[in-house]
Amino acid sequence: MRSGKIGIRRERLCLLLAVLASLFLVSACRDRGAISYKVIYEMDRPAADETASPSEAANSRRYKIGVVPKVTDIAYFDVVKQGAQEAAWDLDVDLLYEGPSTADPDEQIEVIRGLMEKRVDVIAVSANDPKKLVPVLREAKEQGIRVITWDADTGPEAREFFVNMADPETLGRHLLDTLAWSMGEKGEFAVMTGQLSAANLNEWIDWIKVQREQFYPGMKLVEIVPNDDDPKKAYEGAVGLLKRYPGLDGIIGTSSVGPPAAAEAVREAKRAGEVRVVGLSTPELMRSYLHEGSAQAATLWSPKKLGYLTVVLARNMMLGMLPYDDQTIANVGNIRVHGDMIIMGEPLDFTKDNVDQYDF
């Protein structure tokens, strides 16, 4: 009987051990010394990371972008060049900024052919003539070169999109508004334009006419004088205007060489304040005239920004990214897109008060 009791006790012990063992198993995974990690679920990396690297790899090729101004060696297009160069530096692309020495479509065609021979990836052109350039640009397109326009457009069939500085309607109406404000909404005025064939200039002039008809019946447009973006020719044109129209009250320059030439002519004729000069030109060219009073206002956008934006959009196009409305372009700001026209922003007005803020 005694041994039986011991036997039972031993069984109890076994049972206890079994229960303890099972409890230990249950809690065994808890007791560890060092920190250990066991991955349960791994999420896919955020998409941004993945798309960034392949495109980085893809554009290891440096794009060659040819930018063609209407003419070289005038202040406006030089400033555009600065902006384009800045963008080329920022984006690491090759920039070929080549233009004709005179604002002549045929000469521009030669420049474009030269770029085609250099096998650029993109040609961005500020067209001297919207029609004459079409065949050569189509030729370039057939060669696999992508074509955009900036500053001055061509026929839409020749290019993919047009980088415009400002809305032509806003700009044209605003140019007349600045003149009307300085000459008291009445009197005679003349327009000094670049090339009679340049599409952008003609559109602005159209809007100037519309604005005059709509709001300023007291004002009269007497003549439109082309200067082919040649400062000398412009000066001669201005002098001629002052001679032909002794009662002239204002001059609007729609290309950058116009207003300084007009101001110069007005100063020479000692009619400063009498003949008001406004128009599209750079602050640098206009600064002294604005301070003296021989010109009242200049209007422009930042040509640097235009050059910068053109190069950025050309490269984005090569990367497969077409511009869209309200897109934010780094170092430029938001752009707007109307159909195939990109608008860089609002025009800037320069007066004697603020002209010193600008360095172009």
Partner: protein, 616 residues
């Protein structure tokens, strides 16, 4: 020693009760505990996996919200461009200005920033700083220190690599401290004059992280869960525990992934489930960490209840199994004790084992076996005693000094009378009788020998008593030619008794012995019947009844007078059953007849009958 232990542990050597208990435990405890353990582990694992998969997705969403908010914050500096005047101030070169002009510009721009950034829609903005080439404009909600022109922000003055894109600066990277140590991050952005293509300055907007609080507020209600935002180096930008904002997460280097979930077992702490989501845009990691215990709270409750119930069941069933095995082994032990007793010769019957099961029936069989054995032993014992008595008696009667003396005297008389023939006969007869009585040890002898023996006896007595004694032995013809057996010494005691009583009272005696076959009225078998008839004085009726009673009651052993008849009867009954034995018929004064009935058997009987109980 080891081998002894192994020997001890060998299963077949273990006690039956232990075997039963161990088997029972193996069949219940182990499967139950395994099942419980496996299902618990699987359940907690699936909870872990579910949370581990769901949480990073949520964090990813929360991260997207934070990113959106941060990009809104990054757009704040652009508000400056809404005012041409402010841009004009920044474009101015202070070196060309008078002190008063400089201070006017400072005042104008500071109040513009206060209006634009601190008033109205941005409650999170703590302060704005604008660092230009030579000036510092600032406007803050709280007092601050450590953010002068030449102080800790110096490295950030102009080197914003990702232009136009905001950069977030954490407190550890600058010396800027607000009063009350309010937590903040700095959104740094370069102010670029897009028209002149020039950098005007750098704007720093100090923002509280309360927006993260708003994003995460409704998300986690568990107090023990931690949510924090840190950069890749582990600096904590935001934490549900405000104390920890600005500190570093020491474990960040060990985290195996930054987007996903993992389980961590910190030393000393409890295991935690950590879920993270990394913002590619900000380089921030949103972390959610919760003790596993909280996730598996319900499973743990179920587990604990299960363990308690399990232990309870195990205890109850163990007691039951012990009781059950005892209920089997206790009767077996009792039985084995009885067997041991039987082995020692104590044939006891224990009627306490009355259960109806196999053990009970075994006990009953054993009991009946013990009973039978005991009876057999007693029977054998008695037969043996009778046999010994009979042999003793036979020896006594043959070497009876009286008989030998009488016989020798008769012989000597015959010698004197010169009847040498008779002498030779008598000596021969005496010798044969002595040989018969000592020669054969078996209990039965051939019938012829038994008859020869009684004939020898009577012949010797005839020599002695001459004409006073007459006898004849009639052997029926149907018994000749067959060897039949009879118990030894059954006739001589009867004849001796008849001579003794007959010649005591009368001068003459005639004895007739008839031997024949008769069919038993009871069994219908052929029996051998001896009839010993004498013409002696007979037995009075009361004495006859007494004798009959003594024959049946077996109490004759003590009595000398009845020794012969009782012994013969008892031996026959023991050997052949109660239907055989002696019968007495007597008429007082006329004579007595003793009838001896034995079965007709053709073989010697060596052992007493074992099937005696059949007749009882």
């Amino acid at each position: 020693m080891i081998s002894r232990i192994r020997e001890r542990l060998r299963f077949r050597n273990v006690r039956l009760s232990a075997k039963l208990i161990v088997t029972y435990l193996l069949l219940t405890v182990i499967p139950m505990s395994l099942l419980g353990y496996v299902s618990y582990v699987q359940y907690t694992k699936s909870i872990e996996e579910q949370i581990g998969e769901y949480m990073p997705r949520f964090l990813y969403q929360a991260n997207a919200n934070i990113e959106k908010h941060v990009s809104e914050l990054e757009a704040l500096p652009d508000l400056l461009f809404n005012s041409d005047d402010m841009i004009a101030i920044l474009r101015r070169d202070p070196a060309l200005q008078s002190r008063a002009e400089q201070n006017r510009d400072l005042f104008t721009l500071n109040s513009y920033m206060a209006r634009t950034y601190l008033g109205g829609g941005n409650p999170d903005v703590l302060g704005v700083f604008l660092l230009s080439k030579s000036r510092l404009f600032e406007s803050t909600r709280l007092r601050y220190s450590g953010f002068g022109r030449n102080e800790a922000i110096a490295p950030y003055r102009y080197d914003v690599d990702a232009r136009d894109k905001g950069k977030l600066i954490l407190p550890s990277e600058t010396g800027l401290r607000f009063e009350n140590n309010a937590p903040y991050v700095l959104v740094m952005k370069e102010i670029l004059d897009t028209d002149n293509r020039r950098v005007l300055g750098t704007m720093f907007i100090a923002v509280q992280m309360t927006f993260i609080d708003r994003i995460l507020r409704d998300f986690e209600t568990n107090d023990r869960a931690d949510l924090w935002v840190m950069n890749r180096k582990g600096e904590i930008v935001y934490h549900t525990d405000p104390e920890k904002i600005g500190t570093f997460d020491p474990n960040v280097a060990g985290y195996p992934i930054l987007s996903g979930s993992f389980r961590t077992n910190a030393a000393g702490g409890s295991a935690r489930l950590v879920s993270l989501s990394e913002s590619a845009q900000l380089g921030w990691v949103l972390v959610h960490s919760i003790p596993l215990k909280d996730l598996t709270e319900r499973a743990d409750l179920v587990r604990n209840v299960t363990i308690f119930v399990f232990v309870g069941i195990v205890l109850v069933t163990t007691v039951l199994s012990v009781l059950f095995s005892l209920s089997i082994t206790r009767p077996l032990k009792k039985l084995s004790r009885l067997m041991k007793n039987a082995e020692m010769g104590r044939f006891q019957v224990d009627h306490s084992l009355q259960s109806r099961d196999e053990v009970g029936s075994l006990a009953r069989s054993f009991n009946s076996m013990i009973t039978t054995t005991r009876e057999l032993i007693q029977t054998n014992y008695r037969i043996e005693i009778r046999q010994k008595e009979a042999e003793l008696y036979a020896l006594q009667s043959q070497i009876n000094p009286h008989f030998i003396y009488n016989t020798l005297e008769t012989i000597s008389m015959a010698v004197e009378e010169g009847e040498s023939e008779s002498v030779v006969d008598m000596v021969t007869l005496l010798g044969r009788m002595l040989r018969f009585s000592v020669g054969n040890k078996s209990k039965t002898v051939p019938l012829a020998e038994e008859i020869q023996h009684v004939r020898d006896y009577l012949t010797i007595q005839k020599f002695r008593f001459e004409e006073r004694l007459a006898f004849d032995i009639a052997l029926n013809v149907d018994l000749e030619g067959r060897t039949l057996y009879s118990p030894k010494f059954i006739l001589q005691p009867i004849v001796e008794n008849a001579i003794k009583h007959g010649l005591e009272r009368r001068g003459r005696l005639g004895i007739h012995i008839g031997i024949g076959k008769e069919i038993s009225a009871r069994s219908g078998k052929q029996d051998i019947v001896f009839r010993i008839r004498d013409d002696g004085p007979g037995i009075p009726a009361d004495r006859l009844a007494e004798l009959e009673h003594e024959l049946r009651s077996e109490s004759h052993l003590a009595k000398d007078s009845g020794l012969g008849l009782g012994n013969v009867n008892a031996r026959i009954v023991l050997l052949h059953g109660p239907e055989y034995g002696l019968q007495l018929h007597s008429i007082d004064g006329k004579g007595t007849e003793v009838i001896v009935r034995i079965p007709a058997i053709a073989r010697p009987v060596e052992t007493p009958r074992s099937d005696r109980e059949e007749g009882e």
